[in-house]
Symmetry: C2
Subunit: 396 residues, 2 copies
């Protein structure tokens, strides 16, 4: 595609904030420190996790950039940025979460494959752009279409980036046409993040944002959109990001037996403490986030100081700028931040778990959901605190 | 409302199948034996659980029956059955589940209030009727409306039945206007069940069916529909069917702190065995159901014979008549039936749990989700089997 290209090496990477914890350098994968995440409801761009699969693409000439729309359509189209900007602009508050968030903790149970992430492969952004449903109307596919007369049922997004060779070409993913054409699903072709022009790490000049779904489907550096009969057959849809039972290992795996993960379940984490932390005995404030997929809101956040025997409910917040404002049926695609004051004694295991609006719960242990790819570790988040520097971690 | 009335006593109740287990006589609350549930994908009408809050209403004259549509509308309407039948007819396969399903098992942990139910307060029906979204268009509310110019945001359904006095008049519930006007939410005003005219126990002449949501919102014997600004303030929305944390008891409950439960989480149960059963040592077939709310499909059903240490995956089925047919992205609002052959020895604890398409899981124990009203017991379903009649249950 003219205007946008993927370099073959990492010499042209954009600058990044030095506070990010780098989990992989090439391709660049990094997350902010926990504490940075709960400083604001909308995650600052430079503190938003970066999850790339190759060198960051480069725009040589924004005026010649076009996104192609083809596949099972009567009249394929190439849209310029001006044409996309001329469609009604929507701003959607949506939390993106990498399916591998909290993978490192899952690996402690039994090793899993994939980039190691702490609890910060997640961020909340205000995404600005055109609704995909409006874009698809331009090529003659009406709102609320599940199947077109030509038999199309899925919408495939293809990036311009170069993934590793074993991952088979550019990054791709698809979503059902039913979701793509439903204006209430709020799927965007986004050109803005937090009111600014999308930056290079996050998909400049144009990316997909699929709210309520694992980040892997929100394709960056968009090259083309294909209207297709079958779900995308790319590596990251068919050979990755699927949920397997704990009994499946690398010897008995059959990828085709499972569906690509889309929607994610209820999740929460403590961000004001590290997994093993030293605190002064007494009253402390615990902060963190809770979120669920599919537009399900958070109904409750429970915090325990005795490893899960008894619980207190945390306060929840949304839509804060610098101020916290109580959350009431707020941004359906976005996380809530929570805050609770608790008393800790000598040693304590602090635990958080959330309940979503569908009464969905997090599993108490990693064992219940361990999977060889280490995706969606949504087990209760446990942090051990002590006020004695002499206590070895293993005794906590 | 002319044509339809609620009697003041129980002398005019309809006949019911003698195999139903009656959990309360007046009002009538009954469920089928477990084994009956898994005999067919579509639950026969006489084996479908009955959950009434008063005497069953009586239609004196179907020709004079009207459902009123009022509230924040410019032109209130009264629709006859002929007018509703003249709208496009849809058939939606949807599982209805009482929020109190499996309450009896929750009470074993610590007593809860409410009608006791085993695992069969659930059934799968083929519902025929008009889409609520089409009906609302008749009064000038277009598809995909979240708020009307008059400020309406909810749709309230009012039954004609007489609940107990403390429950404050006729049975009522509401759903968000956004859901009511979304044709993909498949909310029906149903006049047929499994291809037959709706029978009296299930809401004749007209009921609401809200797929993917607890049964309490699918109001039967519909008298009126109100287009309103606020969520319904009726007893069963505000003082019942809400999810509270385990720490809340009847002394510290504040009903207004929680939202009415709508969508339900992933659920499963074994139906071919009672909770403590005597079986011959060797190979047995385990059957049951799994379902999730919100249109989330079932991704996997796991069965354990060692209390949850190791698991095997069960086969899943949908759309069977008398024949089982493998389920492939099938009826999104409906359950799947499952089947697995397992070897049992002397004594075993057989456990089932399901995973939904959002990777939602069931909690391992009742403790995690115990709530004073005993709703949504979705903990792993455990059945103990033995082949020795001498083993006391307490030792299993």
């Amino acid at each position: 595609m003219p205007g946008l290209r993927a370099p073959s090496d990492y010499s042209g990477e954009p600058p990044r904030h030095p506070a990010l914890k780098i989990n992989a350098k090439q391709p660049f994968n990094a997350e902010p420190p926990r504490a940075a995440l709960v400083k604001s409801y909308v995650t600052p761009i430079d503190m938003f996790y970066k999850r790339n699969h190759g060198p960051v693409p480069i725009v040589d000439n924004i005026n010649s950039y076009r996104v192609s729309i083809g596949g099972l359509v009567k009249e394929p189209k190439q849209l310029s940025m001006d044409e996309i900007r001329s469609l009604p602009k929507y701003e959607v508050m949506a939390t993106l979460q990498c399916a591998g968030n909290r993978r490192t903790a899952m690996s402690k149970q039994k090793t899993v494959r994939g980039v190691g992430w702490d609890v910060s492969a997640i961020g909340n952004g205000l995404w600005g752009g055109a609704k995909l449903a409006d874009v698809l109307e331009l090529i003659g596919i009406p709102k609320l279409t599940a199947t077109t007369p030509l038999g199309a049922k899925h919408v495939e997004f293809v990036s311009v980036d170069r993934c590793k060779e074993e991952n088979g070409g550019p990054y791709k993913a698809s979503i059902p046409l039913r979701q793509a054409t439903n204006p209430e699903a709020d799927v965007l072709l986004a050109y803005e993040m937090n009111g600014e022009v999308l930056n290079r790490d996050h998909g400049y000049p144009l990316r997909v944002v699929v709210p309520g779904v694992i980040g892997a489907r929100s394709v960056k550096w968009l090259d083309s959109i294909n209207i297709v009969e079958e779900e995308c057959q790319g590596f990251f849809m068919q050979k990755d990001y699927k949920m397997f039972p704990p009994s499946i290992n690398w010897d008995n795996i059959v990828w085709s037996e499972r569906r690509p993960q889309m929607d994610f379940p209820v999740q929460s984490a403590i961000c004001s403490l590290e997994d093993v932390d030293f605190v002064k005995q007494g009253r402390i404030t615990v902060n963190g986030y809770a979120v669920s997929g599919g537009g399900r809101g958070i109904e409750r956040v429970d915090v325990s100081t005795d490893g899960g025997k008894t619980w207190v409910e945390a306060e929840r917040y949304q839509r804060s700028g610098s101020q916290y404002v109580p959350e009431v049926n707020g941004d359906k695609w976005a996380w809530v931040l929570f805050k609770v004051e608790i008393d800790v004694s000598d040693r304590a295991e602090i635990v958080v778990k959330a309940v979503d609006s569908a009464a969905g719960v997090q599993p108490a242990t990693v064992e219940e959901i361990w999977n060889l790819r280490g995706i969606l570790n949504t087990s209760w988040h446990r942090v051990r605190v002590t006020n004695s520097l002499r206590a070895p971690v293993s005794q906590l």
